[in-house]
Symmetry: C2
Subunit: 190 residues, 2 copies
């Protein structure tokens, strides 16, 4: 059965975006530094390839927060992964919205979106995009795994991934990565 996976780059002080997230800067002020490790070169190149293989292997559907949809995919028009259905968690459905490339978007409540995404993912998994949704899913034990790319910077302010939820995590693999540390956990108890 499809797993629900949260996969996110986080600063050592716990931020997944800088302050002032907005359409022109969807990662907030300075937040793009969290994704610098994804560049082809650099000391983490081969590790990024491994991560990309993991992620691409996983994605059979995406579960997308409303803010992430509004800031990213509504203006871009395409689903987060081309050809992969996106399920947007919202109380304000936007029925009939079709991505620029024919991307398939569905809109629903949290548990609906998760059910639909797991069904659509089939033998693959469902990736969660958006920190508020990710936090809720971890807290409700609806997320099965938490993959964190821990970036050695202190942003000082921004959007936190984790606050106000309790859980125990079980490491799935040894951590890897000299610069950015790639951590893979199962969520074992909310």
């Amino acid at each position: 059965m499809a797993k629900v996976i949260v996969d996110v780059s986080m600063s050592l002080d716990g931020f997944v975006a800088g302050p002032n997230v907005r359409a022109a800067e969807p990662m907030g002020d300075g937040g793009e530094r969290l994704h610098a490790w994804m560049g082809a070169g650099g000391p983490d190149g081969p590790i990024h390839a491994r991560e990309r293989t993991l992620v691409n292997g996983a994605v059979g559907a995406t579960i997308v927060g409303r803010t992430t949809f509004d800031l990213g995919h509504a203006p871009w028009g395409g689903t987060p992964w081309p050809g992969i259905p996106a399920f947007v968690v919202t109380h304000r459905p936007q029925q009939g919205f079709v991505g620029a490339n024919g991307g398939k978007f569905s809109f629903g409540g949290l548990t609906e979106a998760v059910e639909w995404a797991k069904e659509a993912a089939g033998s693959k998994d469902a990736l969660v995009l958006g920190p508020d949704i990710a936090r809720q899913l971890i807290g409700l034990r609806l997320a099965d795994e938490l993959w964190i790319h821990l970036v050695p910077i202190l942003l000082g302010a921004g959007t936190r991934l984790l606050a106000g939820i309790e859980a125990e995590l079980a490491p799935l693999w040894e951590p890897v990565g000299r610069t950015v540390t790639h951590l893979h956990y199962a969520v074992v108890r909310p």
Copy 2:
């Protein structure tokens, strides 16, 4: 010259103590779980030995926050490391205080305490004890290294180590540890 080292166990959501820190529970509610990895057994036993060697090799002096002193070392009477002088950061000096085992405590402002500790440490290093002091020292670039033992639990609430300060960190070693991830960084830019 002696380095100033922050060495702390932190939950994945950034807490170094649980809520309601008090004399009876200096680690706060549930906070002792952050130190469970230090037990002799368990999957991280050999790694703990490595960490202990690192720490014991480092300690020529300690820089102690006032809350940590009040909660721990004032009642216990001894310095954090037997025979090693402790420098307590405070605006309320407690001159003449002597630890139960003749432990040497000095009291002063932040920069004073750091200067005294580095001098006292000689060819060893100065360890920082107390999250508020640690955060200030990292933000002011008065801490040289940050050692984090990242524990795979979400406490949900408590005392955060890192908030409101900006810095870049440079990894000193590859991360190790399957359960708890031991991370060692140099603080390179505030």
